[in-house]
């Protein structure tokens, strides 16, 4: 589990820094590490979500070239919070997972901006929200929904094959 967590965090962050630009639509790019953090947190709980978020954010910080620790912190908190929330609601349902992904992307973005204010980050929140955070949240939602559909289909096929 520890190895797969590390591989997931590393793979997601590196993919974010290298190939995700291919998926850019009208300037908006998805945030793969947060999607993977959500995936991990909803299935494994707050501790795993926290570690997954921390590692994914840390690798993202390193590969992205910004302040190391910002995304590690915000994603760790996001993963932890999602893991906690998953125990209190029906976290397996796509009707929960997809909106949760959208909301957590927005929350993580706002938290990141708030943290960066300590380091005199110049961009205003309004512009960040309208230009970066909200488009990314929506994109994550769409991509997450597509991923869930694909996952459900794959699981159905696997179940059918196992039944035979």
């Amino acid at each position: 589990m520890k190895l797969s967590l590390l591989a997931m965090a590393l793979g997601g962050s590196v993919a974010q820094a290298s190939v995700v630009s291919l998926l850019t639509v009208s300037g908006a790019t998805p945030d793969l590490p947060i999607m993977l953090t959500l995936f991990w947190a909803l299935r494994r709980g707050p501790e795993a979500g926290c570690v997954a978020g921390f590692l994914a954010g840390l690798f993202q910080d390193v590969t992205g070239g910004g302040l190391v620790g910002v995304q590690a912190l915000t994603k760790a908190v996001s993963g932890f919070a999602l893991g906690l929330a998953a125990g209190r609601m029906w976290g397996e349902s796509p009707l929960v997972q997809v909106p949760a992904l959208v909301l957590v992307t927005i929350a993580e973005g706002i938290a990141r901006w708030a943290l960066l204010q300590l380091f005199h980050y110049p961009a205003p929140l309004g512009a960040l929200l309208s230009e970066v955070i909200l488009p990314q949240a929506l994109y994550n939602g769409v991509l997450g929904a597509a991923g869930l559909v694909a996952l459900t289909a794959a699981e159905a096929v696997r179940a059918r094959l196992a039944w035979r």
Binding site: V14, T63, V68
Partner: protein
């Protein structure tokens, strides 16, 4: 258990804040980030290669798709052009045939009626073509039918709107003929196999040989004299038999008949010269 998970969160927060503090105080996180970079760089390199490979593959696919679409378009255009070319070729050939027919018509010293072949029967029992001239055009049975290459046959049945022409190679066809060079008289008969034979008296035809042109004799008042029938390709020697046969290659290619001339008038002149012009 509950404390453990919050402790983990606090630890993670502390680590992050420590890293941020160290960086902002000018200490930097050089060693940590360098170590992490060592871990991430190979993956980045591989991913970028995969990315480029995928892009190259995609580009190839797009190029292939575009080439395929272009190919389909060009094929379609090519089909159209080929069809157009065939139509032009067909028109040109028809034009040439009609010119030859018109030229023959002008050279012949008797009244003729051009006609188009609209049907054919070549099963073996009967060899005939149907032409689009009938009772209304004043056609009578026994009317000779020719093309610029020579004799086709004769009208054997006239109907309203069309007539049946018995071909030379019909098994029931018999025509009075003569070898142009030796003046040997005989009969040209059809054969169930589709061949045409010249039946002549052996003692008169001793000098007939391959290549000799056989033309109508003009006897019997059906066919004018001198209409090319065919060329001798072989002699069937029957030894002491009274009659010999010469196998003929018909002057006319019956399979390619499309337009013909019906000789509606009468003449006693030798028409060989009118056909000789065209070869």
């Amino acid at each position: 258990m509950r404390l453990r998970k919050y402790a983990l969160l606090l630890l993670v927060l502390a680590v992050c804040l420590l890293m941020l503090t160290v960086q902002t105080r000018g200490g930097g996180t050089g060693r940590i980030t360098d170590a992490l970079s060592v871990l991430t760089t190979p993956f980045q390199v591989v991913l970028v290669k995969l990315h480029r490979g995928a892009i190259a593959l995609w580009t190839e696919y797009i190029d292939w798709k575009s080439a395929r679409r272009e190919n389909a378009g060009l094929r379609f255009e090519n089909e159209g052009l080929r069809l157009q070319s065939l139509q032009v070729q067909e028109t040109s050939q028809e034009n040439a045939r009609l010119r030859r027919l018109l030229s023959l018509r002008e050279r012949l010293p008797l009244s003729t009626l051009p006609s188009e072949v609209i049907g054919r029967e070549s099963g073996g029992w009967v060899r005939s073509v149907t032409v689009n001239r009938g009772i209304g055009d004043g056609i009578a049975t026994q009317t000779p039918v020719v093309v610029p290459d020579g004799l086709v046959g004769r009208v054997v049945r006239v109907r309203p709107g069309n007539s049946i022409v018995q071909l030379l190679n019909d098994p029931a066809s018999t025509i009075g003929a003569i070898a142009q060079r030796t003046r040997t008289v005989g009969l040209v008969e059809g054969d169930p196999s589709g061949a045409v034979r010249f039946k002549f008296m052996a003692r008169d035809g001793a000098s007939i040989g391959p290549g000799d042109l056989i033309v109508t004799s003009g006897q019997g008042n059906i066919f004018p004299k001198g209409l090319p029938v065919g060329r001798v390709t072989a002699i069937e020697d029957k030894g002491s038999a009274l009659f010999h046969f010469a196998v003929l290659a018909p002057a006319v290619d019956f399979a390619r008949l499309e337009e013909v001339l019906l000789l509606t008038g009468q003449t006693t002149k030798d028409l060989a010269a009118a056909f000789a012009v065209d070869g």
